[in-house]
Symmetry: C2
């Protein structure tokens, strides 16, 4: 039989850690959160597919851009939980993710371009200001109900400050 026929059954968590820069504990945590689903050996050790490196790299990057694991899980929804991911599947992710990214980019650009004029002129207290986009990003940390950015924008309509 061909020399290079037998492939290892998968990558260990340590190898994945080395390849992605993620701590093993973080990788296990992502598994708990349903972001990655490695196989197990008979003795219970995790074995990852090579494609999981790519998957986890995506998690890392999207996270660095401020997306929550929940956001990322949604973006990844529909991909096969295990096994290689095709180029067309990544393309779909790309399309779905793009609107999110575009919205964020637009907001950043608006802040960048308007910091002078917008903040300087008091526009920030207008509910119509582009920087307050109620439909974008439901950021929440801490507990209990918290209204989202822009939810009470009606209170901001008066521009007397």
């Amino acid at each position: 039989m061909p020399v290079k026929a037998l492939r290892k059954s998968g990558l260990t968590i340590g190898e994945i850690s080395d390849r992605t820069g993620l701590a093993p504990s973080a990788i296990r945590y992502y598994e708990d959160q349903g972001l990655v689903a490695p196989l197990r050996t008979a003795s219970g050790q995790r074995r990852y597919d090579r494609s999981d490196i790519r998957r986890l790299s995506f998690v890392l990057i999207a996270q660095g851009l401020g997306f929550s694991l929940g956001d990322i899980k949604s973006a990844l929804a529909g991909l096969p939980a295990t096994g290689p991911i095709t180029k067309s599947e990544w393309s779909r992710i790309s399309r779905d993710f793009r609107s999110d990214l575009d919205a964020r980019i637009a907001r950043m650009e608006a802040l960048r371009d308007r910091l002078d004029s917008c903040i300087g002129c008091g526009c920030l207290s207008l509910s119509s200001c582009r920087l307050y986009n109620p439909r974008d990003r439901a950021r929440r940390r801490g507990s209990g109900p918290r209204y989202l950015m822009g939810d009470r924008a009606s209170d901001l309509v008066r521009d007397t400050d």
Copy 2:
């Protein structure tokens, strides 16, 4: 004397809350963090300047874009802790903040434009990939030392996945 001569001594926390959409508890928290410094009445109640609405709106927006309160505090450093903020002062903030914003925008655009090709082709595992920018954003949550995105990029050089 002129009819409208006497101005109220300042805005209460409730008024600030209504105008910014921030919960009073959040506003007090920001004060603890040094982001705003209201005066106090003889009895100890907080009294805000009108300019604090603008200041807090900036906090809200920057936060929504993923900046930490620490980042924002730095951006705000140098502004007078209390009293009105001039247009030129906001312009300075704008300039200082702009490079941060530009870096983020660039990274988002890179991800947006390269999701297909970059992730699809395995470029994500290259340390040279633009999406891994070691100098950008030291995100940390949780405890203990954690290496930053890109710190171990050398482990990612092999592109065999």
